[in-house]
Amino acid sequence: MGLRKKAKVPFRFYTRLNLLELTGKKARDLEELLNITREISGAVIYYHTHHFLQQQQYLSPEPPNDFAYWVSNVLRESELGEKLASINLCEFNSIIAVRDKIVEVIQKDPALKREPLRTAPQGEEFTFKKSITFIFPTPYSANNMYEFIEILKKITVNSIYFHVFEARLRSEKSIGDFCNWIENSISDVELAHKITNLDPYTYTLEGLRANIIKIIEESLVDNKSRTFLRCGVLI
């Protein structure tokens, strides 16, 4: 792969911003949490499983989702909390599949059969919120890997977030936008797979930016070395 090799299709960088809206729904115990979760939209699940990635960028690791945090810290159901925290979001290609998994985990847990159910103190109910997502293009597009890296270094973390998390889960793609472009437009399958193998949920957004850049740069160096050696042998 050459740094300046022209991509089949340029990569257009988009960004996204969120506004929070309350749904008016609140849960006081596990049964209410389960019943409301079954019915709520993907935008609500999305908020409660992803907002920590953006709000606490400097903190790592963070509570992985609001469901786990509330069940553990407010209802004091630590085992169920741990199970909810362990749901690996990387394994899901759609936000509705994440919702179904959360429902399944709560439904199967013995804590749901406790009589009486543990209830949240007044004011500490689980308040269901949703993200209203605004997506818009940035002025940046990359025609080759060189331009791609340069833009990646300066683009807002919101753009990185969009192409890594939002595009994948909300549009139900199996891979993020970066990998898709590198695989199909730059035709570097190996590099695309290296980036796909990153677990983005275990990095801060700045950490994620740094790691994607590092993987690409290392891959370019490797390719260059291999080319040099091949040339060396030939010469």
Partner: protein
């Protein structure tokens, strides 16, 4: 006045670029803000910064203030306390006074915005004029509604439900309403006189002016003179701490034109302080932003022992200065402080005193909390994030869907 580009070094050029793209989507619309005071209090403070910066972004934002006599502001203060859950006597004549002034304001005000953005309960009844306009109307609630007096709440609810949307500062402040409810935290301006970096000589001068010693730790609470800020509890906390560490207390407050209760509270605080030379009660005019900044920067520990809070922006101000903070877990304060990570949360006089002692005795721990707190504020509570959320809000009213492509 700071320009938008001045914020680049604090939040990054990428964030500012994003704001400019967003502002372009609002081109041609007029945003009319309406509140009850131009000076003093958190709302006026935010609007004083927000309106010019929206203008700098190319958004036509305007700001108008309703008029009211002392009788009107006494009523709105009673409403304010009642909405915070305080036990106040509300008379039928109070509602009449409120309506009379609202009607007078409706007659006198020019409602010209494409978006009419009403702040807090005082101008809320202007919504009656909505049928005469083609505007989108939004009501912005800056106060804690979690346990309101039911009569005042029902009185206001009728108005709120006529708006196109409402905005609250924290999830716990919201109520069951038939209109859309958005969630937007308030913010602080890192370049304002109250928050900008200050040279040491300015800080020293302020301390000298008010006779505050630099030889012993300074515990400070900055807030209006208001029962809900628990100034008497603050003095009790200080007396518990001083048993173990020689220190001094600063209670500094400014006034707002819509708060007629301040003088009464101030006199009671002075009585409780009983001429203690280590308790400095400072009455600051509304323009004392540099003084407040200096007092916060000179403090060893900052306290916010409120019984109720709207959001408690003084906490964000203190954290932005990387100060260790002990604050009550009320209103929006828990959104700003993660206990033992970016400050300490407390619920009682004794717990607050214990937290302060911990911080005074463990300066490294205190420093770490302050550092974490500052980063949390940078990410979530600066004016640039607030500007972004407001612009998204103005756009959101045009779209019913959850994913909007602009």
């Amino acid at each position: 006045m700071a320009k938008l580009s001045d914020y680049e070094s604090i939040v990054g050029k990428d964030i500012i670029d994003e704001l400019r793209i967003l502002a372009g989507k609002l081109s041609g619309r007029v945003i009319q803000n309406i509140n009850s005071t131009a000076v003093g209090g958190g709302v006026a403070e935010i609007l004083n910064r927000m309106v010019p910066l929206l203008g700098d972004l190319g958004v036509d934002a305007q700001w108008d203030v309703i008029k009211g006599g002392e009788d009107f502001f006494k009523v709105t203060k009673k409403f304010h306390n009642a909405l915070h859950g305080a036990n106040v006597e509300i008379l039928p004549s109070d509602f009449d006074t409120f309506i009379e002034y609202s009607e007078m304001n409706a007659r006198q005000m020019n409602l010209y915005g494409d978006v009419i953005f009403i702040h807090d309960p005082q101008p809320i009844a202007l919504i009656k004029e909505k049928p005469k306009t083609k505007s989108k109307w939004i009501w912005r609630c800056h106060i804690d509604f979690s346990g309101p007096d039911i009569r005042v709440w029902l009185f206001l609810k009728d108005f709120i439900e006529q708006f196109d949307g409402s905005v609250f500062s924290a999830p716990g402040f919201t109520k069951d309403l038939s209109v859309r409810q958005f969630l937007i935290s308030p913010s602080i301006d890192p370049l304002s006189d109250k928050n900008k970096e200050l040279p040491k000589r300015v800080i020293n001068k302020v301390l000298d002016t008010y006779g505050i010693s630099q030889d012993k730790p300074i515990i400070t609470q900055i807030s209006r003179f208001d029962y809900l800020k628990d100034p008497f509890g603050v003095i009790e906390v200080f007396r518990l701490v001083r048993k173990y560490t020689d220190c001094q207390l600063v209670i500094a407050g400014g006034g707002a034109t819509d708060d007629p209760e301040g003088d009464k509270v101030l006199n009671e605080i002075r009585e409780k302080a009983d001429n203690d030379p280590d308790i400095h009660i400072l009455v600051l005019p509304p323009t004392s932003n540099i003084e407040i900044n200096a007092l916060q920067r000179a403090s060893t520990v900052i306290l916010q022992k409120s019984l109720r809070e709207g959001f408690g922006l003084t906490v964000a101000e203190a954290l932005w200065k990387a100060k260790p903070v002990v604050a009550s877990a009320v209103g929006g304060i828990p959104l700003q402080i993660t206990h033992k990570f970016s400050g300490l949360l407390s619920r009682t006089v004794e717990g607050t005193a214990y937290g302060i002692k911990q911080l005074l005795h463990s300066p490294e721990y205190a420093k770490k909390l302050g550092k974490n707190g500052k980063e949390h504020i940078r990410q979530n509570f600066l004016l640039t994030r607030h500007l972004r959320d407001y612009m998204l809000l103005f756009l959101a009213l045009d779209y019913p869907e959850d994913v909007i492509r602009l």
